[in-house]
């Protein structure tokens, strides 16, 4: 390449400097400052101080003092132009040369900006795709679950139509038979019995289906009422006596009420559950015995239903309480009985379980439900052999007086207060028993019960109310009450409740 003349070089330099402004700085020895030799510091975002120097610490920090040539490329200070930073060492002095590369920088920036934005969009799309996949998977799973549910439902409907079909055909058949002129009075009588059985069976089926629907739709309600335990036991004894005789089975009903006469419980539901358990026991038992043992103790009613039937295998036991978990032995029914019974018992605050079952030996079901005492036997209305410290919390003054008098009759040391504010929570020793009204004016008795339970973990807590609704019963239980007493308070019930408290203390 031929040598450029001096004129050409100078022209070229002029053109280059016009296109690419430069800043040429001489660094003062041992300083962060430099003196401007040529160019405009402001063009590169640097500020010229009053003494004509520029602070270059931001550029020289980390720079090798002995480096010659390009040090940093594509740098930019605040709003200045982009530059390449060179360091020149001339005659023992350091110079900084900033060469404007703003036009190149802009091109690179635009290309990079597009590329980065495209990558961000791509990332966003992959993330959306991932979310869509997850949603799709969840939808598919829920659709499969629905299909399974539909299958179970349609299987149930298929079984129901069969179950309803059989008694309906029998009823219609017998009615037609009775219509025939040739039918004798004796045959008519037999047909009438068959019609009665068929209708009773249909009614039972309808009730099961309705209960199941009510439980599923949360429209199921309990109505606790006063229930006489002896009457309950007698009724069941009578009810199944005929079946037992007919089947040649031994049928035995016992009651051990510990002096309790009446309890607070939803009698209709209790009967429904017991009936279901006993009917099942009779259905499966070919020989031997079926028994019902009722026992009341400490505000809990326990019912044992024992049979000497074929018993159940482990697999049968496992699906016993499942919906439609009917036994495979070809016995009639919707298969809802036990699952509904257990659900109802749970709503009553109790448990229903298969306590024991052995193949060839029989089964034993045990039901435990809370059953607060309402009335005890008159002879139980007597002094306790161990006097109790009892605190009454009731906002009604007359009732406070009455309760204290009743308690003193029973040999207790009783005191009464109107509300939580008057209770001495730090009393030492704390009372053995507290009787708390559930409706203390504006204050809910369950709040008081909760506080007492917290402060006196070992005290026997009795909730008291004229309202026997399931809601009040449940609230008192949740708040920590050991039992519930119904107003108007019957002395025998109070006496029995206190006896339970004494027994509890003795057992501790």
């Amino acid at each position: 390449m031929s040598q450029l003349s001096e004129d050409a070089k100078s022209y070229l330099l002029e053109q280059l400097l016009r296109q690419r402004p430069v800043l040429y700085l001489r660094i003062a020895k041992g300083s962060d400052h430099a003196r401007c030799v040529s160019g405009d510091p402001l063009h590169f975002g640097l500020v010229l101080a009053a003494d004509d120097t520029v602070d270059v610490a931001a550029l020289t920090i980390g720079l090798d003092p002995s480096g010659h040539g390009l040090q940093v490329s594509k740098a930019q200070i605040a709003h200045g132009a982009s530059f390449d930073l060179h360091q020149l060492l001339i005659d023992g002095e350091r110079f900084l040369l900033l060469i404007d590369v703003d036009d190149l920088q802009r091109e690179v920036q635009q290309a990079q900006q597009s590329s980065n934005e495209a990558r961000l969009r791509l990332d966003e799309m992959s993330e959306r795709e991932r979310l869509l996949h997850a949603e799709h998977k969840a939808l598919r799973e829920s659709s499969e679950e629905m299909q399974r549910h539909q299958h179970v439902q349609s299987e149930f409907v298929r079984r129901l139509s069969h179950e309803f079909g059989t008694p309906i055909s029998a009823v219609l058949g017998h009615l037609n038979l009775m219509d025939l002129p040739t039918t004798t009075a004796e045959q008519s009588q037999r047909s009438l019995s068959a019609v009665r059985r068929g209708v009773a069976h249909l009614r039972q089926l309808v009730e099961s289906v309705l209960d199941q629907a009510r439980l599923q739709n949360n429209q199921f309600e309990l109505y606790p009422g006063v229930t006489n335990l002896a009457t309950l036991a007698d009724d069941f004894r009578e009810l199944h006596l005929g079946t037992a005789l007919q089947r040649g089975l031994d049928w035995h009903v016992s009651l051990d009420a510990h002096g309790c006469v009446e309890v607070l419980i939803d009698e209709l539901r209790l009967r429904q559950i017991l009936l279901n358990l006993i009917s099942n026991a009779f259905k499966f038992t070919e020989q031997g015995k079926v028994s019902l043992s009722l026992r009341w103790h400490d505000a809990v009613l326990t019912a044992d239903v024992v049979d000497s039937g074929p018993g159940m295998s482990a697999a049968e036991q496992a699906r016993l309480f499942a919906d439609y978990g009917r036994s495979a032995r070809g016995v009639r029914g919707t298969g809802l009985g036990l699952s509904i019974s257990r659900e109802i018992v749970q709503r009553m605050g109790g448990t229903l379980r298969l306590a024991d079952s052995t193949l060839g030996r029989g089964s034993r079901f045990v039901l435990d439900v809370p059953a607060p005492i309402v009335r005890g036997q008159p002879e139980d209305n007597q002094s306790l052999n161990q006097p109790q410290q009892v605190l009454v919390v009731d906002d009604d003054e007359d009732l406070r007086l009455l309760l204290v008098a009743m308690l003193e009759q029973l040999g207790c040391a009783a005191s009464a207060v109107a509300g939580l504010a008057d209770v001495r929570l730090d009393a030492e020793p704390p009372p053995d028993v507290a009787v708390v009204d559930m409706h203390l004016g504006r204050l809910d008795g369950s709040v008081v019960l909760q506080q007492l339970r917290k402060s006196w973990p070992n005290a026997y807590l009795l909730a008291l109310s004229a309202d026997s609704s399931q809601d009040v019963l449940e609230r008192s239980r949740r708040a920590g009450a050991d039992s519930f007493l119904l107003k108007p308070l019957e002395p025998g019930a109070l006496s029995l409740a206190l006896q339970v408290a004494v027994q509890r203390r003795a057992a501790e």
Partner: protein, 165 residues
């Protein structure tokens, strides 16, 4: 009293908000618009510590290709590293770890703070508590920041300004 000068390098994947964090810290400003950085942007801020004044020189390095050949010239003389990840993009936390390891291989270990940025978009975060927990094992200080609201931005920079050399 002579002002101490400290060079802080901003490192992290592209579009995690490095430039926005510097802009929030230095100018108390924020822009929604994404503008990719090319090369390095240099800013300074004087901060007052309990016992001294420090001039922070912030080198905000391009996130697109932070490990290119020029990286070492940008990193020379660095006193501390502000490592930035975007909470809404989980992979940027992995990039942050990779970039940090590379930087250490070039200039040795330096005091580092990790900023999980875009805390204002927390409902969209992909980084889990477990991710943050494991990040705490390699970064002494982890801050959840937002350049938009300014949350913890000052705290994070000041934590680094105060670290003894």
């Amino acid at each position: 009293m002579k002002t101490e000068v400290r060079k802080i390098c901003m490192l992290g994947d592209f579009a995690v908000g490095k430039t926005s964090l510097v802009n929030r810290f230095v100018n108390s400003a924020f822009s929604e618009r994404y503008l990719s950085t090319v090369g390095v942007k240099i800013d300074t801020k004087l901060v007052q510590l309990v016992d001294r004044q420090v001039k922070l020189v912030l080198w905000d390095l391009a996130g697109s290709d932070p490990l290119n050949g020029a990286a070492k010239s940008y990193l020379m003389g660095t006193h501390g590293i502000v490592l930035v990840a975007d909470g809404t993009r989980r992979e940027t936390l992995d990039s942050a770890l990779r970039i940090h390891q590379h930087a250490e291989s070039l200039i040795g270990a330096r005091p580092t703070v990790l900023l999980i940025n875009k805390a204002d978009l927390e409902p969209q975060w992909q980084s889990t508590q477990a991710d943050l927990q494991s990040a705490r094992q390699w970064a002494r200080n982890v801050w959840e920041t937002s350049a938009m609201t300014g949350a913890h931005v000052e705290d994070a920079f000041m934590a680094l300004a105060g670290v003894e050399r």
